[in-house]
Subunit: 198 residues, 2 copies
């Protein structure tokens, strides 16, 4: 459904469709909104995209997004450098940070193993993680990949490789979420909580 009579507008709609989850209808709605009601927002978004695309890089230690050679978390002298928590994405790292229960460092995979989608160890930089974890300072690697099939498979591959290199490897506990009633918890979760009982 291209809007008529404006090439710059049709080009904008096409470009908005590169965003994940945005089809031609939402792209048209977004373009219409920006041009009719928020041209300042359009300019601001253009600048933000330009800056992020040129300035954001990967931390040379933990691989997360940063504008520096080494990110602020990895530079923080208060952090326990003997513990390394492996997560899939910066959003997962943010979730762990919000708990304030972990004071070590991170490694952000920026993805997960997904053989069906052709995403193998090289695509998520596992060799970089292996180098990072075997720096002689890291004593324990905590696997905090998601508890999905792909996250579990990723954790398994990493655990095997790092144990073979003599490192202590742990996994976040599976279990019943805090505050939930057993009656409403799915069976698989209860089964895991039984196996991981302590």
């Amino acid at each position: 459904m291209p809007l008529l009579n404006a090439n710059a507008l049709n080009a904008l709609i096409e470009a908005l469709r590169r965003l994940p989850g945005v089809g031609v209808k939402s792209a048209s709605r977004m373009a219409f909104h920006l041009l009719q009601h928020d041209r300042q927002g359009a300019q601001l978004l253009a600048q933000a995209l330009q800056q992020a695309a040129t300035q954001v890089r990967h931390c040379s230690l933990c691989h997360t997004f940063t504008e520096d050679e080494v990110c602020a978390t990895c530079r923080d002298p208060q952090r326990d450098r003997s513990k390394l928590c492996v997560v899939e994405t910066p959003a997962d790292q943010a979730a762990v940070e919000r708990t304030a229960a972990f004071k070590g460092l991170y490694f952000v995979l920026m993805g997960k193993l997904s053989p069906l989608d052709g995403i193998g160890p090289k695509d998520i930089g596992l060799s970089k993680l292996f180098d990072r974890a075997t720096d002689g300072v890291v004593q324990e690697v905590i696997l905090a990949t998601n508890f999905t099939a792909e996250g579990e498979a990723t954790a398994h591959v990493i655990a095997e490789a790092l144990k073979a290199r003599g490192l202590k490897v742990t996994r976040l506990a599976r279990g019943v979420p805090a505050g939930s009633e057993l009656e409403y918890v799915d069976l698989g979760t209860i089964a895991h909580a039984l196996v991981d009982r302590r």
Copy 2:
């Protein structure tokens, strides 16, 4: 849920939230996708936003988006200049165009009357429509605003004003959609189809 350690990234997430229907979770997902998998797309979108925000204007005749003083449709010598079809948005204009059943010109309101949201006649440029419709060439104004409460109210206000100026004003017929079985058509639609029977 700001991603950590990158101001340019947090700024991008904030800017993406200005898009309609985009909350902090989708904005994070979009930013992550662009930076991890499609930096070229980010640059392209930045350029498209910049160009659209600076180049797209309103056609001086029909008010739709265009990069020219007068849009290609209004300039088209094949069009019947005695008929003016009033629509709410460029997307609605595109829908009418796709029927290939109308060869006249358009006026695009770029909105609709919505007293509850404080959108009155001045906000959607009705005086501009009244000037356009009374140029002496236009003989019939066809109201193709949506068949919603607001679209109907908008059509009503325009119809009254233009009839007072001596113009012929018509409205798209309400009725049963082509291909539908009466059993599954809502009562209001059937009632309208009875009233508008021919």
